[in-house]
Amino acid sequence: MNNYDMEDTQNSAPGALPAVQASKLAPRRGPDAQSTTKRLQTELMQLMTSSAPGISAFPSAADNLLAWAATIEGPDDTPYQGLTFKLSFAFPLNYPYAPPTVLFKTPIYHPNVDFSGRICLDILKDKWTAAYNIQTVLLSLQSLLGEPNNASPLNGEAAELWDKDPEEFKRKVLGRHRDVDDE
């Protein structure tokens, strides 16, 4: 992933060390709230300056960077085409050394998502590394919509239907989907 977020190092207030250089000069310390916030701010700037089509994310409230809301548009040529899904991100204090907790807020019919929105995705569990970020997670989820991992389904019926009866699958998807508005 290319980071073209030059803005954040070029225009910071004079006197304040830009994050990259500051971390270079100071001995690396363990993760703390400060560096987590910093990291999330950088990610936000990155998302805003180089957004990928069909995904978007933003902090839920200005005073808590640890909770975000995200939106995924269903990819074309999948049963989810034209649908929009909302997700919530909850970041642990030691992010990015531990994965965020991601849930679908919009009800979705999908082999790897259960009815309460929990997701079965390896990079959100044991395959997580600090190299992943919000954007990569969202892109992975977007591709998961088109290519479910039917080997380890949370929703067995959906896994079965995906292969056997795409029509029925699509009907179930549309039936389950409904727009949520958080207000």
Partner: protein
């Protein structure tokens, strides 16, 4: 006893003044039991001739009888007393008048002294033989010494002290020396009688010890009493002479910073000084205090010389060609392949003038003092370490003046030879550095230039880099806190080293040209440092590692400026990202082989490895591919439309040449960028002129047929156009941005539609509609053309073409043309700023802020009031959101107007 005698003398003087004095007064005998009365006509107390036989008989008469002994004893005593009286009377010191002439005859006059005196003196000097029985005898010399001492303190000293009050130092000193000389002559005159007598009567050489003891005593008296009060005067005179002899500027011309060569004046001063020292020595003033003063003055002179003669003289110019043999006089430690001018001068000065003076003066004080060769070496060492101290304090300025200050660094290298001195040097320099440079008043460019100069200078000073590392750390730390450091380094690497005329640019106030020069000269060894240097047996300049090197020390021979700058200031990511941005700009802005970019890319690859720089490689390749594609399409289009030549390239950039009169075939050069690998490009969309649009469409078709999987997106506002405008009375050719070209071309079409009617008039509103261009951008373009005297604003918001110029405008136009030839790049850059600096929320960042607002409204909450949006922006954008709520409201208002947003119940909401 002596006091009593003086009293007597005084009384007698009073008496004599009334009754007249006999030629020689007589002592009143202490006891005269056996002497008869003096014969009539004979002076009382005159030595009696008949006494002599009895005197001579005395020894034999010793044992005759007790009475006889008693008588003899008394006689001897009387004789002693009388002799004493005669001698002291003659030798009594006369009063010392204040203005006594030197040539005035001394008393007592030699002629007036008669035989009686010598007989008496004989008695006093040899009492054992002459008056063996006298019980009370005294040393006549001790008496004389003590009367001299008293005389000096009571009569001479007050005169000398009173001298100080008036006259110049020279005169005072001269006068004091004269007085002392006179007094001394007087004292020695009295003594000389005794001395002569001893010489005549005693064993040879007996007088020497007497005289030397007397001299010692009298010098002690003089130096103890006179030296202190005269010290100030003495120092002043000495100092003046010494500085004149050594060529130092005196107080009157203290402003001159040069050392006078040896000349008549200095020779005269030397003679004067030596004469002075001689006379001081003769009167006893050349004692310890004189020597201390002289030493102090010499010491100060050396410092003075170093400050006067070496301060600010740092260059190497004209050094050795004309005096090849000077090495001989250098300090042994200073022998070096390139001793600097100051060190050479200094050693020469010490050798020929300083040491010479010291030898002469000290030799005069005491012939036993000699200045040995080692002393001279010591002087040189001292002077060089003073020079080093001076240079250390000047070091910052020396560094800034690099490379015109190599000489000064040579001075330092000679002298900085112990760890303590090295530590001192780095401490002083670090202090100066943080005082003079590391503050917000200095530009980053300036700091970097200084850093480069520091690397050079310290490398010249100390190849080991230990010193540099010590002083550079705070600088590096400070530079890391500057945002533009990396950008300046990279753009410096990529900058032009020659100006438009092909002359090399040596310094610049805008860019770090030094780096580009280094890169071009290839003087720097690019690549991994030669680690096997230790094994180079042929390296005759090999030096051991300095003792104060740190544990992580690694020797490296070259200065490696680029490497240091890149390696130290900022992380790899920052550098690569910055390089990408700047290279991207350059690639888009210019055509050409991009040699510099390739070179810098290679340099960075060596340092950071291939993988992180992959994107940059792709960028370069994009541009090269674009060139090939352009050629391909040009051929293809020519085949297709025969006369239509169009060159097109890719996703992003259009380069067009737009000729209004020949509308058919502006050639189009396209640069295709691979979006994923290029930095984010800010672009404004607008309606390009029709014929360009057609060319673009044709190109896009062709491109997609060649590379089917790729989609071409035009970025209209990037790129350049060459515009040639034929107006009624002139032709204007300008290299402009595409958006500027689009604006002027819309005037062109209107002109042709109106036929020959009035000049074309367009309002801003019309243009906004027609070009679908942002209003700020449009205004900026209009302003550009108004400045070029192509358009004029006939009414607010309405512009028309200025077909003919009046005289004034013509002159302005000519002047502009001349000016723009000189600095063609300047107005380009100022236009760029014109684009960004607009009213309200700026174009440049508008895109980013809009992204934030969209993300916010899409995810966080579907509708938000103004305050909440403002607060979110302020808290979430790392650099802060610099606009007020009113400005934000205006911005959001525009978004509402163009249909992206809607207002529902005071809250903003994305329009579905």
């Amino acid at each position: 006893m002596m006091a009593g005698r003086t009293l007597d003398t005084k009384k007698r003087r009073v008496f004599d003044s009334v009754f007249g004095a006999p030629s020689i007064s007589q002592p009143t005998p202490v006891a005269t039991p056996v002497t008869g009365f003096t014969a009539p006509g004979q002076a009382f107390g005159t030595p009696q001739v008949h006494r002599s036989p009895s005197n001579s008989q005395t020894p034999s008469a010793l044992k005759v009888s007790p009475e006889k002994v008693t008588t003899d004893y008394v006689q001897d005593q009387v004789r002693w007393d009388r002799s004493w009286h005669i001698v002291t009377r003659v030798l009594n010191l006369p009063n010392f008048p204040e203005h006594r002439g030197v040539l005035e005859p001394l008393k007592p006059e030699r002629e007036s002294v008669d035989k009686d005196f010598y007989n008496a003196l004989d008695v006093l000097l040899y009492p054992q033989t002459c008056v063996p029985l006298a019980r009370q005898t005294e040393d006549i010399i001790a008496w004389h010494t003590s009367q001299v001492r008293r005389h000096f303190l009571q009569q001479v000293l007050p005169i000398i002290i009173s001298l100080k009050a008036h006259g110049s130092a020279d005169a005072v000193l001269l006068r004091a020396v004269k007085v002392l000389e006179t007094a001394q002559r007087q004292y020695l005159h009295g003594l000389s009688f005794i001395k002569e007598h001893i010489d005549n009567s005693g064993p040879p050489g007996a007088s020497v010890s007497v005289m030397s003891r007397f001299h010692r005593d009298i010098y002690a008296v003089i130096s103890n009493s006179v030296a202190d009060p005269m010290l100030g005067v003495l120092r002043e005179v000495l100092g003046r002479h010494v500085s004149r002899i050594l060529g130092l500027p005196s107080k009157e011309n203290a402003n001159t910073y040069s050392i006078a060569p040896e000349n008549v004046e200095s020779e005269k001063a030397r003679r004067d000084l030596l004469a002075l020292v001689d006379s001081l020595k003769s009167v006893g003033l050349a004692g310890e205090q004189f020597q201390v003063s002289f030493a102090e003055i010499m010491n100060d002179s050396m410092t003075e010389y170093v400050h006067r003669g070496c301060k600010g003289i740092w260059s190497l110019t004209g050094l050795f060609e004309n005096r090849p043999s000077k090495n001989a006089i250098l300090l042994r430690a200073a022998h070096h392949s390139t001793p600097s001018r100051c060190v050479t001068d200094l050693c020469e000065w010490i050798e020929n003038r300083y040491a010479k003076l010291a030898v002469q003066v000290l030799g005069m004080l005491d012939p036993k003092y000699t200045i040995s060769w080692t002393d001279k070496e010591k002087y040189k060492e001292m002077s060089i370490s003073r020079l080093a101290e001076l240079r250390i304090n000047e070091l910052y300025d020396i560094v800034v003046r690099w490379p015109h200050s190599k000489g000064a660094l040579d001075d330092l290298r000679t002298a900085i030879n112990t760890p303590q001195k090295r530590l001192h040097l780095t401490e002083v320099f670090a202090n100066t550095l943080s005082e003079k440079l590391l503050h917000p008043g200095a530009s980053t460019l300036q700091i970097l230039q200084t850093y480069i100069a520091m690397i050079w200078s310290f490398h010249a000073l100390d190849h080991s880099k230990v010193l540099l590392d010590r002083v550079a750390y705070p600088l590096q730390l400070y530079l890391s806190s500057r945002d533009d450091t990396v950008r300046i380094i990279i753009s410096g690497l990529l900058s032009e080293t020659e100006d438009a005329q092909g002359d090399p640019i040596t310094t610049s106030t805008e860019k770090l040209v030094e780096l580009a020069q280094l890169l071009n000269n290839n003087s720097e060894q690019i690549g991994p440092r030669a680690d096997d240097e230790e094994l180079d047996w042929h390296d005759m300049d090999w030096m051991p590692d300095p003792v104060d090197a740190g544990p992580g020390y690694r020797r490296s021979k070259n200065a490696d400026i680029i490497g240091t700058l890149i390696g130290v200031l900022g992380s790899q990511d920052v550098f690569i990202k910055e390089f990408q941005n700047i290279m991207g700009e350059n690639l888009l802005k210019h055509d050409g082989p991009f040699d510099k970019e390739v070179k810098v890319l290679e340099l960075l690859k060596v340092r950071f490895g291939e993988a992180p720089l992959q994107a940059c490689e792709v960028m370069l390749k994009d541009i090269q591919d674009s060139g090939r594609l352009n050629g391909l399409f040009r051929k293809r289009l020519r085949d297709r439309h025969d006369s239509h030549i169009g060159e097109a390239d890719t996703e992003k950039v259009a380069d067009s040449i737009d000729t209004p009169n020949n509308q058919s075939e502006p050639p189009l050069h396209v640069k295709v960028l691979s979006r994923l690998f290029w930095p984010q490009q800010n672009t404004e969309d607008f309606g390009v002129p029709r014929e360009i649009l057609e060319l673009q469409r044709a190109y896009a078709e062709g491109f997609e047929s060649i590379k089917s999987s790729r989609v071409l997106t035009w970025m209209q506002s990037l790129g350049q156009a060459t515009v040639e405008l034929e107006l009624e009375d002139r032709t204007v050719v300008e290299e402009v941005h595409t958006w500027q070209a689009a604006v002027i071309s819309s005037f062109q079409f209107r002109t042709s539609q109106d036929q020959e009617g009035t000049a074309a008039q367009r309002t801003i509103e019309e243009l906004v509609d027609e070009l679908e261009m942002d209003e700020t951008l449009l205004r900026s373009a209009l302003k550009f053309w108004v400045n070029k005297l192509v358009l004029q604003e006939v009414a607010p918001g309405t512009f028309c073409v200025l077909e003919t110029l009046n005289k004034e405008d013509r002159e302005r136009s000519n002047a502009q043309a001349a000016a723009s030839n000189a600095a063609s790049n300047k107005d380009e850059s100022s236009d760029d700023t014109g684009l960004a600096a607009s009213d309200g929320v700026g174009n440049e960042k508008m895109g980013m802020y809009w992204q934030f607002i969209q993300g916010m409204l899409k995810n966080s909450s579907s509708q938000m009031p103004l305050q909440q949006i403002a607060m979110m922006l302020k808290m979430l954008i790392v650099d802060g959101f610099p606009y007020s709520n009113e400005e934000l409201q205006e911005f959001l208002g525009r978004k509402v107007a163009d249909g992206s947003l809607e207002m529902v119940g005071g809250k903003y909401k994305l329009k579905k």
